[in-house]
Symmetry: C2
Subunit: 198 residues, 2 copies
């Protein structure tokens, strides 16, 4: 639970193996038949596990795809808060996203997941919902970096800046997915933010 990286116990690793096995099976089936057409029963059977246990690893069908966002949120928060005090809110958030982009394993797999999410409305809705959680997580750090406001408005200002950065990340990610992964995400993000703040 804490920030200290408790090294993975044997138990953790076997759990991770099961999770990975379910995930791979599911992604294969999603690619073959589409997300909606694939049932939990089928994933469970092909992964050699009971339906009941599958739900113990992934609370929902959507979480099989969007699940790892949970941990990443904590990494984002920590990174943003660790930025030097001189950094503006914009710079701190950008640094956070740079770390996130490097935190993913193979970029190929990330592209596959992201494409699936952006092409499947319910998945995208879930994804957005989780990103909203991220916004709440970084909000304090962003508020602390805002120029001191006058009224009860600094809250709104901080929320607006945070939401804008996420919106630009979203726009950049969408363009990245539509380019089939050939474009550079960081460049797209900078372009997006420039269009907004220019």
């Amino acid at each position: 639970m804490g920030t200290t990286a408790t090294q993975p116990s044997l138990w953790d690793r076997s759990r991770q193996a099961v999770v990975a096995s379910i995930f791979d099976t599911a992604m294969r089936l999603f690619a073959e038949q589409g997300y909606e057409a694939t049932t939990i029963a089928q994933i469970a059977k092909e992964a050699g596990i009971s339906q009941r246990s599958l739900f113990r690893y992934f609370g929902t069908k959507e979480d099989i795809v969007c699940g790892e966002q949970e941990e990443l949120g904590e990494l984002l928060r920590a990174t943003v808060e660790a930025q030097p005090a001189a950094a503006t809110a914009w710079e701190a958030l950008r640094a956070g996203f740079e770390v996130l982009m490097e935190a993913h394993g193979e970029p190929g797999k990330l592209l596959e997941i992201t494409t699936l999410i952006f092409d499947t409305p319910p998945l995208r809705a879930r994804y957005t919902q989780k990103r909203l959680r991220w916004q709440e997580l970084v909000q304090p750090a962003v508020t602390a970096r805002m120029p001191a406001g006058e009224g009860p408005l600094p809250q709104v200002r901080a929320a607006a800046v945070t939401a804008t950065v996420f919106a630009c990340v979203d726009a950049a990610t969408e363009a990245w997915v539509r380019s089939g992964g050939s474009a550079d995400l960081a460049t797209l993000y900078d372009e997006a933010l420039a269009a907004v703040r220019g």
Copy 2:
């Protein structure tokens, strides 16, 4: 279907009456017991209609709350496109939202709906999903108002501007809801956008 306002036929109005009756029943029950604890069966029974018919009026439980967004999207698109050519993308979008704010009936009812949406994660996810549809609708009009770009990037720039405006509307709306409706939405929006573009 067209833009011409075909005046409501008798049939339309009886349909509207049923819709309103279901909606009112549902909102009352949601307020009394919460959204998740209220079942479709209960809403149908109290509204004096069969479950099957309820689903013919509202495709999903979420749409009972988020349903009217569908038509409003068209209004938004038309308004943005109708802005003078000299208006910037920012101004055109702002004008669109001003019209939307006036399009709602009683502000009290709007506050009730919006509060429910913002307090209920699945509803907010659905709401965001529909707003994404709005973004797609206005995208062409926004692209047309962007300063001519160099590469394949004007798409990203337009998407970023659009997404940012929606993000600011969201931040403003959230603050408005949290204030219990006492704050002024337009003022909050201007404050939010100023924080971003300042």
